[in-house]
Amino acid sequence: MLHYPNGDLFSTGVVACEIEPVNREQEDNNRIILSVEVDGALTRAVLDTGGIYCILHPAAADDIQFDTSQSIGPYKINIRGFSYKGSLYRSTLRINAEQGESLEQDVTVFVPDATAEEWGELPTFLGLTGCLEYLRFAIDPIACQFYFASA
């Protein structure tokens, strides 16, 4: 685990991450990709500190079957230059540790009005506002390790 100079823990968990393009045929930039759980559904998610909310892949949303009476919207959100319509929910994001402790946070989730096929290779996105804002994290880009703790 990582520590502050005074010995306090900086991170309580660590898990492997991918640092590469989500889809080599469609982009030529590396992304930090994690495997996380949203309300019990596993999904590959890109760390998107310039984004907002947890934008959930419809394949995962399909399994979760959100209660639409608990949503707000619909609203449009821009993702990679395209505008997507969808609704906002509250749900549980679990980051599983490979070593150390896993943790769960209550986050805002945007569920696009799209099928899994339409969303395709686009991943789930973990944005800053409403999702990563209370997660302390650090990345080892050589060993591809994601260190994290509740902030």
Binding site: V15, E98, E117
Partner: protein, 216 residues
């Protein structure tokens, strides 16, 4: 509150303040009188020396007698900023508004405007304030709950090393399964299909199963 700058003269003429050219004003009038802006005629060039700023006089085919309009300048400005997708001005206007006299509908409408232009922090601030002020209003409370800051629910949960095994499988087999939907569990391939629907017919609902479904 900003003083009203619009009133009816002689039953048919309107004097408008410096918002006379704004589309939201037409929408606002439409909601009261069933009038359309294309029907209005200007009776005078804009006057710039009035105490409330520039003004125009218009003739409108409306049937209401002379009344003072409940002209909500603050909401009109917010709607205008939202229409122009000016999130900076929108946030400034929200901060200038005295929300303690505002209704739950005003809160909800402004939260929705904020979300529509991507002013997510402003939407959160208003939703939280509105939720605290109107704790018995289900829709307001729902907005506050959905847009609230992140809250840590549980820490100290056991590790799950098998999650990393799925990542390793993807890294090792990506080129072989490119373009296919795959289901992986504990680092082992369960199924690979061309379409998501075909894969789901095989693996079913994967919630709480530890199965990762993804397109490679």
């Amino acid at each position: 509150m900003v003083a009203p700058t619009l009133f009816i003269q002689n039953g048919f003429n309107l004097t408008m303040g410096d918002y006379s050219q704004n589309p939201p004003l037409d929408d606002y009038l439409l909601s009261f009188f069933g009038y359309h802006y294309s029907q209005r005629k200007s009776l005078a060039e804009p006057v710039t020396s009035t105490s409330s700023g520039s003004a125009c006089v218009y003739s409108l085919p409306i049937e209401e007698p002379t009344i003072a309009l409940p002209f909500d300048m603050e909401m009109l400005k917010l709607e205008r900023a939202a229409r122009l997708e000016d999130d900076v001005q929108f946030a400034q206007l929200v901060n200038q508004t005295d929300w303690q006299y505002r209704s739950v509908d005003d809160y909800l409408h402004t939260v929705q405007l904020a979300l529509s232009i991507g002013a997510h922090l402003t939407a959160r601030k208003l939703a939280m304030e509105g939720g605290a002020r109107f704790p018995d209003h289900a829709e307001m409370v729902k907005h506050a709950r959905v847009l609230a800051p992140v809250r840590t629910i549980r820490t100290g949960l056991p590790p799950q090393p098998e999650i990393a095994a799925n990542m390793r499988w993807l890294k090792a087999h990506r080129d072989l399964y490119r373009g296919k939907w795959v289901a992986i569990q504990n680092g082992e391939l369960l199924a690979a299909e061309v379409s998501f629907q075909q894969l789901k017919q095989i693996v079913g609902n994967t919630k709480n199963t530890g199965i990762l479904v993804t397109k490679v």
